[in-house]
């Protein structure tokens, strides 16, 4: 109890013990996170936004620049390529010009042929060269792949290439494909002098490949040339050209061609993204080749074009990412620096708040937080001081409370014992045990003054072995010794004895032996008159002053002991009185029985003799005295009935009347009863009728008593009804879960008032005192009837109004109990013999 109380106190005062720190941490951590995350997130967000903003800005501007650069480069490349191709043609043109220097004359022919052959050798693109004279006649034709033709006589003067050449000095023919494979162009140049004629060269454009393949556009890009019809003329992949492909369906080609064969040379078309011949997406730009009307296209695979852009974006992304990571780390570091002291502060405050007042918060930031921590520490210190004070108070108060609780508990136990049992021995043992345990004593006993001998006797002992008890009992001197101590003083105070200081007697030796060294005696006084009725003796381990509370406590128990002893005495008295009453009652019953018997014997003789004198009047010559004899007979009969009823009543009162149930066929019983009652009915000219439902069945009941009840009621009904009707009826009724048989006797007689009905079932009572005189009767019939009905588990009721007759109804249980007993009829009859009607 004490240990438990202490631990409760501890856990109440110090909930933030070592075991609770984990849960404390658990409660604190989420809050810490929130602040930390808030700070860190804010920092990261700020840096992220800045970084992303600058990153996106950089990326966008870089993208624009890169695109612009690409556009510029591709345009330049296209323009440069156009220039180179143009130069290629111009050079051929220039070479051709040399062949038309000399006028056609006889001596010059061989020279011109040689010049032509030399041209073929110097200009590989020219496969064939024809020369006409001023009249337009072909004078000479040399070829790389055929024999020279001299003075073929072909007249070309009407052909457009010649007329145009003459008109414009130079002629660029349309592109045509030899053998449907090799692109060729006719290039004609007129001599400076009119008589020098015209040189017409068939130029194999395949050789532009030499130019085109030299144009480098990035790593995977290239340039190609398309004529104004959309035919591919030159391409680094010569087989593309040799296939004689029409590329005018490519959107970039279509766009370029739509500007016309003489597109604006200074303004190459804008860079665009399109699919090339192989279906790859390329960045492409074109430039017209003047004066041919062709277009040169440069294209660069999109992947390559944007590769540096992507690389730069990738690098930028890496930098931004690195920046973000750095920002996150820095944010976390800063947030930790900021949140750390707050967290320490908060955790410390939480611990202080949870009761760990020895907690001191160590924050050394040198700022407001440290000041706050110091204030917390001060607060904790103050709290700790006041707590310590409070704790001692609570401790002492708790101890007091505990004691009170223990006392109350003991008292309640004692009280329970006092109230629940009248066995003095038990009560005193309980009181003694509680008193000793509560007072912190070892042993003790309760002595009670025997009311008869006025001597103290040891009635209860505690903490003493049976052997020691036997020793004590064998030494009655100690009782006498105690009685002497207590003396006759009705107002003796509790006293303490130090055995060491007592004279050396046998009693002292015995007490020593048992270990009773310092008995404390509390006299027990009857509060009514202050008489000493006993003593409570407890043994201290060592002699010494006994605290007042202990004495007070023990006096409480002493009071209980007094109560118990008084109860015991009172009970003994009551018991004695009860025994006397029972004896008196027995005597009364005996007397009644005897008297009845004694009265009935002569009365029977009187009735018998008067009957005889009336019925055999002739024989006895008493005709003249017959009327008085009848009166004597009637009075005797009445007296006998009265005596019988008094006898019955006394038997019932004495509990000596018993019922003997058996299975009874109701219809025949009722017939029988009705037969007996008919005589009564006829006396007052009443009609008597029976109402019984079919199959009323049988009932387990004492038939004699049932008959007595019914006859009582019927005789009453007949008695108070003149020339009326008396009806006996029976039936089964079910109320609640129980079955009943009801018997009803209804008459049309004088009836009763409500007040009369109240007293109806009392002994010796009639509805009106006067009725006895008018109708006769003992006034015991209904009292007996009710008692009998109740004995059989039933009851009787009345309903009546003055002048309107009365209805008495009896109900008896038709329950299973009766049915069971039906098989085994009445095992014993009442001891007092059969009840007479």
């Amino acid at each position: 109890m004490t240990v438990m109380g202490h631990s409760e106190e501890r856990s109440a005062a110090d909930p933030a013990g070592a075991t609770d720190t984990s849960s404390l941490d658990g409660a604190v951590r989420p809050r810490r996170r929130r602040l930390f995350v808030k700070y860190a997130t804010l920092f990261v967000a700020v840096v992220t936004v800045a970084l992303l903003f600058s990153g996106v800005f950089d990326a966008l501007s870089y993208y624009r620049e890169h695109r612009r650069a690409l556009v510029r480069i591709q345009r330049e490349q296209a323009t440069a390529a156009a220039g180179k191709i143009s130069q290629f043609i111009t050079e051929i043109e220039g070479q051709l010009g040399w062949t038309t220097q000399l006028p056609w004359s006889a001596g010059v022919f061989d020279q011109r042929r040689f010049d032509a052959l030399r041209l073929l050798r110097q200009v590989p693109a020219v496969t064939e060269l024809a020369q006409t004279d001023a009249t337009g006649k072909e004078r000479l034709r040399v070829s790389r792949i055929g024999m020279d033709v001299i003075d073929s006589g072909l007249d070309l003067s009407r052909e457009s290439k010649l007329t145009e050449t003459v008109a414009r000095k130079v002629y660029y023919g349309p592109v045509y494909f030899r053998g449907e494979s090799e692109p060729y162009m006719t290039l004609a140049v007129a001599g400076a002098r009119r008589d020098a004629g015209v040189s017409i060269a068939e130029v194999n454009l395949k050789l532009i490949w030499d130019v085109v393949s030299q144009i480098k556009v990035g790593e995977g890009g290239h340039a190609y040339v398309v004529d104004w019809q959309g035919r591919l003329i030159a391409h680094p992949d010569i087989s593309q050209v040799l296939r004689n492909i029409d590329v005018s369906q490519l959107p970039q080609v279509r766009t370029a061609l739509s500007r016309g064969p003489r597109g604006d040379a200074s303004q190459p078309d804008t860079l665009s993204q399109a699919k090339n011949l192989r279906g790859e997406i390329v960045l492409t730009a074109s430039a017209p080749i003047n004066p041919l009307g062709w277009h040169v296209f440069v294209e660069l695979p999109i992947s390559e074009a944007y590769a540096p852009l992507y690389a730069a974006l990738y690098r930028l992304g890496l930098i931004v990412l690195a920046g973000l990571i750095f920002a996150a780390l820095a944010g976390m570091f800063l947030a930790r620096r900021m949140v750390g002291p707050i967290e320490t502060l908060q955790l410390g405050a939480a611990r202080i708040g949870a009761g760990d007042l020895s907690q001191r918060i160590a924050v050394k930031t040198g700022d407001e937080l440290e000041a706050l921590a110091d204030q917390f520490n001060d607060m904790a210190g103050r709290l700790q001081e006041s707590y310590a004070d409070l704790e001692t108070k609570v401790e002492s108060r708790t101890a007091e409370l505990e004691r009170s609780v223990a006392e109350l508990r003991a008292l309640s136990e004692v009280t329970r014992a006092v109230n629940s049992t009248i066995d003095l021995q038990t009560v005193l043992s309980t009181i003694l045990a509680n008193a000793i345990s509560l007072a912190g004593m070892e042993s003790g006993g309760i002595y009670v003054v025997d009311p008869a001998t006025r001597k103290l006797q040891l009635r209860a002992a505690h903490g003493i072995t049976a052997e020691e008890l036997a020793l004590l009992r064998a030494q009655p001197d100690h009782e006498r010794h105690l009685q002497r101590r207590l003396g006759k003083d009705n107002h003796a105070r509790p006293f303490n004895v130090d055995i060491h200081l007592e004279p050396d007697t046998e009693v002292r030796a015995l007490l020593y032996r048992i270990g009773i060294l310092a008995p404390l005696t509390i006299p027990l006084h009857d509060p009514a008159n202050g008489t000493l009725i006993g003593a409570l003796v407890v043994n201290q381990q060592a002699p010494g002053q006994i605290p007042a509370e202990t004495i007070e406590l023990l006096q409480t128990f002493a009071a209980q002991s007094v109560l118990a002893i008084r109860n015991a005495h009172l009970f003994a008295e009551i018991e004695a009185k009860g025994r006397q009453l029972e004896l008196a009652s027995q005597h009364k019953s005996q007397f009644l029985a005897n008297m009845s018997h004694e009265l009935r014997t002569p009365l029977n003789a009187i009735i018998g003799l008067t009957e005889m004198l009336v019925s055999s009047a002739a024989h006895f010559g008493t005709e003249k005295a017959s009327e008085p004899l009848r009166r004597v007979h009637r009075a005797g009969t009445h007296l006998l009935a009265l005596i019988n009823q008094v006898l019955d009543l006394s038997k019932i009162e004495a509990g000596k009347l018993d019922v003997a149930p058996e299975r009874v066929h109701l219809a025949s019983l009722l017939d029988d009863v009705l037969g007996t009652a008919r005589q009564l009915a006829e006396q007052n000219n009443n009609s008597l009728s029976l109402r019984v439902p079919e199959k009323l069945g049988s009932l387990t009941v004492d038939p004699t008593r049932l008959r007595q009840i019914l006859l009582n009621l019927l005789s009453n009904a007949c008695k108070f009804t003149k020339q009326g009707e008396v009806t006996l009826s029976a039936g089964r009724v079910t109320t609640g879960a129980r079955d009943w048989i009801t018997f009803t006797v209804a008459d049309t007689g004088i009836g009763m008032t409500a007040q009369q009905q109240e007293r109806l079932f009392e002994d010796f009572s009639q509805a009106d005192p006067s009725t006895a005189r008018r109708y006769g009767g003992t006034g015991l019939g209904l009292a007996i009837t009710r008692r009998l009905a109740r004995m059989m588990g039933g009851d009787v009721k009345v309903a009546s109004e003055p002048g309107k007759g009365s209805t008495f109804s009896v109900r008896l249980p038709a329950g299973a109990g009766g049915e069971e007993q039906a098989a085994e009829p009445a095992p014993h009859r009442m001891s007092g013999g059969a009840a007479d009607p």
């Binding site: 040689f114 050798r121 496969t127 790389r144 055929g146 494979s181 194999n204 040799l242 296939r243």
Partner: protein, 325 residues
């Protein structure tokens, strides 16, 4: 065929498969090389290798040769081709259209590259130059056209010559085409022409003897792989009868022929690599146009001219691309 070449070729043939197996992990292209003789280390093969190197291919690393020789026996070509097909070559490289046509029925879908094709359209190897359409593609030589020019050049060197002998290898698809071109040209220049056949180098001497008996003033050798390869022997035979000889390959001029006007077929082999490159990259041979030559070389052997006592006109010498002293 020199012994050293033969041994080298043999080593190449033996070594190539094992090398290929070693390179099996990556995709190694196998190039079937079908030659009259095992000549994997000949000049032309080296030119081809050079072309491949220029395009970024490394022999032994991502491509290997699978060489077969048909020993100048055309009937052996299908057999060799089958072997190459079984060796799972990606492409078959042959020198002439004659071999390509012989290999085509056996080769199935495997592309055939002709390094020196006379006139592929007229011999039925291609639908057109721009779109060959089949499995054969390659580089054309324009041999018939160039041959007419040779007649003219011969006429310039020998203005008084009247009898012109034409030496051809019967059975080559190019021979009739060349004759078709040369005969009218020669006649227009006042030549009396007679065609002489020879099927093997062993017959060279006899052929030239017959020409001398016919008192031919000059001979034009029709383009044939056999003549090309046996240039020195042919030149020696010509020298014995003191016969000026024009031919279609610069190698033959170097061997002693008087002059040649032709394409440089070494270039053919080098450019052949571009075809191999495209085909290996997935272009169908039928979509790869036959390339026609654009550069023609006039090579004159002055040494031979001096031996023959022939004077080369200055104009011709000036126009010559190479003069062998």
């Amino acid at each position: 065929m020199r012994r050293r070449d033969f041994i080298a070729a043999l080593i190449g043939v033996v070594a190539a498969p094992s090398l290929a197996r070693a390179q099996q992990s990556g995709k190694v292209a196998r190039l079937g090389l079908l030659l009259p003789f095992p000549a994997v280390n000949s000049d032309f093969a080296q030119y081809f290798r050079g072309g491949m190197r220029e395009l970024g291919w490394e022999e032994g690393k991502n491509w290997v040769f699978e060489t077969r020789a048909y020993w100048r026996d055309l009937s052996a070509v299908p057999g060799c081709t089958e072997e190459l097909i079984r060796a799972k070559v990606d492409i078959i490289i042959v020198v002439t259209l004659q071999v390509a046509l012989a290999a085509r029925p056996v080769a199935g879908d495997t592309p055939i590259l002709v390094a020196v094709a006379g006139d592929p359209v007229r011999v039925g190897a291609a639908e057109s130059l721009a779109h060959p359409g089949g499995t054969i593609t390659g580089l054309a030589t324009m041999s018939p056209e160039l041959a007419t020019r040779r007649v003219q050049q011969l006429r310039e060197i020998l203005p008084g010559a009247t009898r012109l002998a034409l030496l051809g290898e019967p059975g080559t698809p190019l021979m009739p085409l060349m004759l078709d071109a040369i005969l009218p040209a020669a006649r227009s220049l006042g030549f009396v022409v007679r065609v002489f056949d020879v099927r093997a180098p062993e017959g060279f001497k006899a052929s030239f003897e017959t020409m001398r008996q016919w008192s031919a003033d000059a001979v034009i050798v029709l383009d044939s792989e056999m003549f090309w390869r046996n240039g020195p022997r042919l030149a020696a035979a010509a020298t014995t009868v003191n016969m000026p000889m024009a031919c279609g390959f610069r190698e033959m001029t170097r061997a002693g022929c008087l002059f040649s006007y032709a394409t440089n077929i070494r270039e053919h082999f080098r450019r052949g690599a571009t075809y191999v490159d495209k085909i290996l990259k997935g272009v169908k041979p039928g979509d790869l146009p036959f390339e026609q030559p654009t550069r023609f070389e006039l090579i004159i052997n002055l040494k031979t001219a001096r031996q023959l006592g022939v004077t080369i006109p200055d104009t011709l010498l000036t126009l010559a691309d190479e003069v062998i002293e």
